[in-house]
């Protein structure tokens, strides 16, 4: 296995690291691209991108992790293209780098907002053969609040944190009090999207519930391999149960989609046992997708 660092993109402003198998990669296999999770740089939460890239390279996959513009080791863009669009364009540029090395199809791996971007890319680029969507979109709907907060309500420590002022609820409430002059909500996004709630975080424009359902269903219908991985006790899993599962029912039955809910972990797979499981699940899925792809 060998790794090399590079600058790529139109302005040579994006940083990437390519992981090559020890022997020349089997180019009939899809290459794997890792997308940034939130504000964390390209090594991924708890360095899991590095670990998984090296594991997949040992399996013969050509891999690349990189930083979106302005994140990690990549320079900010000079234009005003919104993140939802630039992330797609930059991921496709990363795919182009690997395509220049002979890759013909791709698997995308993204955690949290990385899964969000992976889904957008998969819809727009027919070279994508599969996407591992780890803890993807959280679209609040009926029943979500009860699901998300039931553990906290039953946990005495949550109440102690609340009384002691250490609860994340206080931070959330403070964030809702937008300073004078700032809009209370983000402007409407592109067609088919809903405005995101006001927070002190980077604004993200999330698709509506019907839109995300449609996106996932269209990928499943196209035969794109889908691997959903969740923290079993986390709120994102609720999204799977009430929204996404039914959209990919056929793909689940055909084996082109799968889901794994990992118990006793958080959103970024901090316990190492959860990381081990995540790596094994995605590795096995990548093998299966590669095995299904026609050679050449």
């Amino acid at each position: 296995m060998k790794e090399r660092a590079l600058l790529f993109g139109e302005e040579k402003s994006l940083t990437g690291v390519i992981t090559e198998p020890a022997s020349p990669p089997d180019l009939a296999r899809p290459a794997v691209v890792f997308l940034d999770a939130g504000v964390l740089h390209h090594v991924g939460p708890n360095r899991v991108h590095v670990r998984l890239a090296r594991e997949l390279a040992r399996e013969g996959f050509l891999c690349m992790r990189f930083d979106f513009s302005g994140l990690g080791d990549s320079r900010p863009r000079c234009d005003a293209v919104p993140f939802a669009e630039s992330a797609v364009a930059e991921t496709r540029q990363a795919m182009d780098v690997l395509a220049a090395r002979g890759a013909r199809s791709f698997l995308l791996f993204g955690i949290c907002s990385g899964a969000d971007a992976a889904l957008r890319v998969a819809r727009q680029d027919p070279r994508v053969a599969g996407a591992a969507l780890v803890e993807p979109y959280l679209v609040a709907g009926p029943g979500y609040l009860l699901y998300a907060y039931r553990r906290q309500v039953l946990n005495p420590l949550s109440w102690l944190r609340l009384v002691g002022g250490r609860s994340e609820l206080w931070a959330a409430l403070a964030a809702r009090r937008a300073p004078p002059g700032e809009p209370a909500t983000q402007p409407d996004g592109p067609e088919g999207t809903a405005p995101a709630p006001a927070t002190d975080e980077v604004p993200l424009i999330l698709p509506s519930r019907p839109e995300i359902a449609r996106q996932v269903r269209s990928l499943a219908d196209r035969g794109v391999g889908l691997c959903f991985v969740y923290a079993r006790e986390g709120p994102a899993y609720h999204n799977w149960l009430v929204l996404l599962r039914r959209e990919v029912r056929g793909a689940l039955a055909r084996g082109t989609a799968r889901v794994e809910a990992i118990a006793r972990t958080d959103h970024v797979f901090t316990p190492r046992a959860a990381q081990d499981r995540l790596v094994a699940v995605v590795r096995d899925w990548a093998r299966d997708v590669a095995g299904r792809r026609p050679a050449g």
Partner: protein
Amino acid sequence: MKPFFFGDSRRPLFGVLHPPRGSSRRPGVVICPPFGQESLRAHRSLRELATRLADAGFPALRFDYGGSGDSAGEPEEARLEGWVGDVSAAVEEMRESTGESRVTLVGLRLGGAVAALGARIVGGAEMLVLWEPVVDGATHLAELRRAHAEWVRDHAPGAKVAPDEVLGFTLPAGLVADIDGLRLDQIEPVPARRTLVVTSGEAGTRLWEGRPGVEQRVVPPAPVWLHAEGMSRALVPGALIEAVVAWVEGASA
């Protein structure tokens, strides 16, 4: 920014070089990161520091220790001595890049200790900046374990936790032993012509107090390096970074 691998080709280290603005011949700055979860949370701050230093005419090199970040190696093999050797390789790389033998070392948290130990083996640093350094290794280990226990309790009760993991990262027994025996205050002599110990609170500010060429500075507010509330947030203590850049500029004049 120029990302690259350097050092021993059998165990290459990942680095990002920030070339200086203009054609100054100022000493290069090698930046030593913290360990584990702190290294992820500090990434943005260290990038910002390197960018500001480069803007001020100082070439700056960020890098990952072996077995961490993008560098080769397994986390299970991590030892303090190996990381100090990695600092030496980074200094060598910087000297080759600038053609200038003088070098400044900056280290954050455990990276502060690694920078100080590294400064000794590279024959002394021009300047040494210890940012919120880990002074007493045993105390740092206790802090890490306490933060890990709190995290498990609050976020994944009942999670199976191996004895050699802390906040998502492997903390192997050899490294534990190394950190446990670490006492930065006992290093003699101070391995730099000029040293700045900069913290955001009172703890650690008396390190090497009264020794020649050593200054202490406190620049609040304190960033959150370990608490769960800091997860997913980029930490950039701007005032402290400005203070470090200003000090390096002043000390090199």
